[in-house]
Symmetry: C2
Subunit: 250 residues, 2 copies
């Protein structure tokens, strides 16, 4: 089984980390649109156009499934991708909703959805959760989280003041959806502020989802992984080495 992972930049590596642990794949092709990141501030049509370009890229490879790690892509472009792709396509939003179902028994549980402006404006998580009976959701787009993560500030004063800024008027929710690939990197600080909230991580959610939908098994102790980027591929590879603890990278 071979997967193509598409992301707007390097953030999708947090999803790759989970996919590597899953042992589902013999090979992963990662494609980051680093030249045009971030997608989370772009409009729907632009996100769809860029996603279809990524689809064309993956047609060069013999993949079985395309996984869109980026939540903004998953919010706006999944239908188009599924219509046009000669392979399976999954985003991270349906998996995130499944993870909520697996974690929260009570339908009146409170769920905080965090995402980029694009993801939040799409209302995709809230709509799907409501269809499953979860009506107690509230959404915010904490715009500073992405640049803070990109600056490598995974702890400390700046991050803590920023979390305080966005969360100060919110009651601790039962679950928090980390609806952007960058957010798992600051999950420790989020948990420090809301210690009792269950965090929903796109990577883990996708693994559970693939297991359920495609009956995938942990069968590859080693996954061959290749990285491609639209700008500065060496930068992507360096971050991948660090985040994924890889020795050699192609």
């Amino acid at each position: 089984m071979r997967a193509g992972v598409f992301d707007s930049g390097v953030g999708g590596l947090t999803v790759v980390k989970s996919l590597l642990s899953s042992g589902f794949f013999s090979e992963i092709i990662y494609y980051g649109d680093t030249a045009r990141v971030p997608y989370g501030v772009k409009d729907k049509n632009t996100i769809i156009r860029y996603s279809l370009e990524a689809l064309e890229f993956f047609k060069n490879f013999d993949i079985d499934i395309m996984i869109t790690a980026c939540n903004s892509v998953s919010a706006y472009a999944i239908d188009e991708l599924q219509n046009q792709a000669p392979f399976e396509v999954t985003g991270v939003i349906n998996p995130g909703v499944l993870a909520v179902e697996n974690s929260l028994d009570k339908k009146d549980s409170s769920i905080l959805i965090l995402g980029t402006k694009a993801t939040i404006n799409s209302n995709r998580y809230a709509t799907l959760l409501e269809e499953k009976g979860y009506k107690n959701t509230f959404s915010i787009a904490p715009s500073l989280f992405v640049p803070i993560v990109e600056e490598g500030l995974f702890e400390g004063n700046i991050l803590e003041s920023t979390i305080q800024h966005y969360f100060q008027n919110i009651q601790e929710p039962d679950a928090i959806i980390l609806g952007c690939t960058h957010f798992p990197l600051i999950s420790k600080a989020i948990s420090k502020y809301f210690p009792n909230s269950k965090l929903i991580h796109s990577g883990d959610a996708v693994v559970e989802y693939l297991k359920k939908e495609y009956n995938l098994k942990n069968q590859y102790p080693k996954t061959n992984i290749k990285f491609f980027a639209t700008e500065n591929p060496d930068g992507l590879k360096n971050i991948a080495k660090k985040w994924l603890n890889l020795d050699t990278i192609k």
Copy 2:
């Protein structure tokens, strides 16, 4: 005298504010590429391409001078624009250097250059200052300043921790170049951290530069101003109303 002001987004309004006070212009056409902001993380060729598109836009108007408020554009695209434009073109970097010359007598004065990654990587301020004899310059790209300003956080904990983060290992300089249109909006907090540094503001610098280069005079008590944006023009107009204290806007 009519000016076209080009910026990557809304930040150039800080330059417009100074231009309105100058009384140099009967009319200002503002063009913000809000669909593709920010430019400060893009590469040279992309910035030049987008700037030439802005030039085409201004050819629709009978302007005498195009002013590029964006420092990243001023750093990379001025030569191309000047070669191709049927009107005068000025950026904000030569004006900034002139402002340093007007402010600092001693050539060994220390000058801190703040800008986006694109502006800092261009090395344009440092090179021009060195040509004028100022060799004691140092540059940083405080990447979080722009998103913090865009979030409207002009004071408070987040901004103060961020300033501390970038400035903590720096000795108070004699002057600080606010080399990005967003930075004047947090000049108070910067001055609080470095109270004795002279701040160089692109808007004021451009006014001084135009006076010297073109012998412009304060002759228009009222400037007619029109706003155009590549995305969400109403958003631009609302910010303009607030920042520039305008009653009516076209």
